[in-house]
């Protein structure tokens, strides 16, 4: 394992966070979800918004349903007096990546990151084909569930997994979510009963799909001594990297995730022990793909929050993974963890963030 023993003055840590509960339909609009969430993350870090050196947000205008909708989200951070900020049309985990890169310049010590999305106003099956190439795939209306079903079929055909394996992922995720106040769907499920359910996109059943969620999440980052001053146990980011594969799913082996494996290696992960891993498997078969890509040991707790199968606030889901790992390390219930975020279709683009507590 390539984790270092102690943080250097230039290391970056997670020192504050907050998330909304994921719900099927939030009454508030996206910025109204963000206002209290950003405020709570800053409060946890003990920072005033005017002390933040850089702000970066992740959201999707197609999802919100308005051109330049992301601009209004910035009001949750307060943009007067003027601030230095940026936005990614990506999951908030990539906003965190941009903030982490920005902090490498060394001239600022703090950053605020957030991600938000409301999936309730639109139809995922109608909306998400629009992220595919406009010539071959988008006109077909291929939705995420259909692509995930192709991936699941590839896993079954290759003998890598069974439908029972998928159902066991779901049962464990929903059970783990019982302890997560922000999770949306949770409970004790019987695997045999799950397997008796009808297909919605063969070989996927409804429970193999994520819930449709509205939600928001915010994170505060700080550097070196500033992080130590702000947090009792700073959650050091030991490495972060993201890698992408070819857009056309037909040109990929959907049973594997080489971009996840490469991102993990570039982030510094060499297969050593991890207490916790939070993975953005928005469809149950993807947990099997990601476990294999990362080479996770059986001792690693995977998605103790319930993961995206219990709450999937799109554009926040990946940043929530970082928060779920960070809060366990900050609380001392874990020392080392890995968070994974994904974008694009069927695990096309993957980010890995390694975090560790000291002492």
């Amino acid at each position: 394992l390539t984790f270092s023993n102690s943080a250097t003055p230039d290391d970056i840590a997670v020192v504050g966070w907050a998330q909304t509960p994921s719900v099927r339909r939030a009454l508030e609009n996206e910025v109204q979800l963000l206002v209290p969430t950003v405020a709570a993350a800053l409060a946890r870090a003990g920072l005033d918004r005017r002390e933040i050196g850089f702000t970066c947000a992740g959201s999707c205008d197609y999802l919100t349903g308005g051109p330049f909708a992301f601009v209004q989200n910035l009001e949750a951070a307060g943009a007067w007096p003027p601030i230095a900020e940026s936005h990614v049309e990506m999951d908030g985990a990539w906003a965190l990546y941009e903030a982490w890169v920005r902090l490498q310049h060394g001239d600022i010590d703090t950053a605020l990151v957030f991600g938000s999305g409301k999936s309730s106003p639109s139809s995922p099956a109608e909306l998400w084909p629009q992220q595919l190439d406009p010539y071959y795939l988008a006109p077909l209306g291929v939705d995420p569930a259909s692509l995930a079903a192709l991936q699941a079929r590839a896993l079954l055909d290759s003998g890598t997994a069974t439908e029972r394996d998928f159902a066991e992922v779901v049962a464990r995720s929903r059970r783990a979510a019982l302890d997560n106040p922000c999770a949306q769907v949770k409970g004790h499920l019987d695997v045999d009963a799950l397997l008796a359910e009808p297909y919605v996109r063969a070989p996927l059943r409804r429970h193999d799909l994520p819930p449709i969620s509205d939600g928001a999440v915010a994170v505060v980052l700080a550097r070196g001594d500033r992080a130590r001053a702000l947090a009792e146990r700073p959650v050091w980011i030991r490495g972060i990297d993201h890698r992408i594969e070819v857009h056309q799913p037909g040109m990929r082996d959907l049973t594997a995730s080489p971009s996840t494996a490469l991102a993990a290696r570039k982030a510094g992960y060499d297969g050593g022990p991890l207490d916790v891993a939070e993975l953005s498997c928005t469809f149950s078969p993807q947990e099997i793909v990601l476990r294999a890509a990362l080479g996770l040991a059986p001792a690693t707790a995977v998605n103790p929050s319930g993961g995206p199968l219990a709450a999937n606030p799109v554009m926040a889901t990946g940043l929530v993974r970082i928060v779920e790992v960070a809060q366990r390390i900050a609380a001392g219930t874990a020392d080392r963890g890995l968070a994974h975020a994904t974008g694009g279709q069927v695990l096309q683009h993957n980010l890995v963030c390694l975090m560790e507590g000291e002492g």
Binding site: L27, N29, Q32, R49, G78, S123, Q130, P139
Partner: protein
């Protein structure tokens, strides 16, 4: 290759906008007054974007249906996909008395286009109650009063001096 895409979004108005629309049905325009800086937002946002403090029903205030044109454009429409207008029309920003931000995209009637000017005092022409609706009011911050107010017309008062509205152009 023609490839037109349409996406459907369905949602309820936020609780703040529901109150806003209910008031407009009765001929009242309401907003939120920031408890810190005192600025009035129409409709209320649920927070003050400058002070970043939450606002709620307890911060609701009524503003007048009279105001001042702070800026305007006379749009000469060209034919593009979706354009329904064929004649030049007004797109004016109106600062309601008691509000700190303008209503964008308002029509000004009862005055020649070449006499419309910044500072012009105007009053709302309300639609009859039975024709008012929530149409055009959306959670995304677009829309405004168009489903309850037909247009604005000059009041005949002297123009508002520039220094009284220049901090409230948009």
């Amino acid at each position: 290759m023609e490839h037109l895409v349409s996406l459907t979004y369905t949602e309820e108005l936020t609780p703040i906008l529901e109150r806003y629309v209910d008031a407009m049905m009765e001929g009242r325009i309401v907003g939120h007054k920031c408890p810190e800086c005192g600025r009035v937002y129409v409709p209320g946002k649920g927070y003050c974007p400058l002070c970043v403090v939450a606002t709620g029903a307890e911060h609701e205030v009524e503003v007048a249906d009279t105001g001042t044109v702070t800026g305007f454009t006379i749009v000469t429409p060209v034919a593009y996909y979706g354009q329904k207008e064929t004649e030049p029309f007004v797109w004016a920003s109106v600062l309601l008395d008691g509000a700190d931000g303008t209503l964008a995209g308002q029509d000004i009637v009862g005055i020649a286009h070449d006499e419309i000017r910044s500072g012009l005092r105007v009053r709302a022409i309300w639609k009859p109650k039975e024709r008012r609706s929530a149409e055009g009011v959306s959670n995304r911050g677009w829309g405004g009063v168009g489903a309850a107010i037909e247009a604005f017309e000059p009041t005949g008062e002297p123009d508002m001096p520039r220094e009284q509205y220049e901090e409230h152009i948009f």
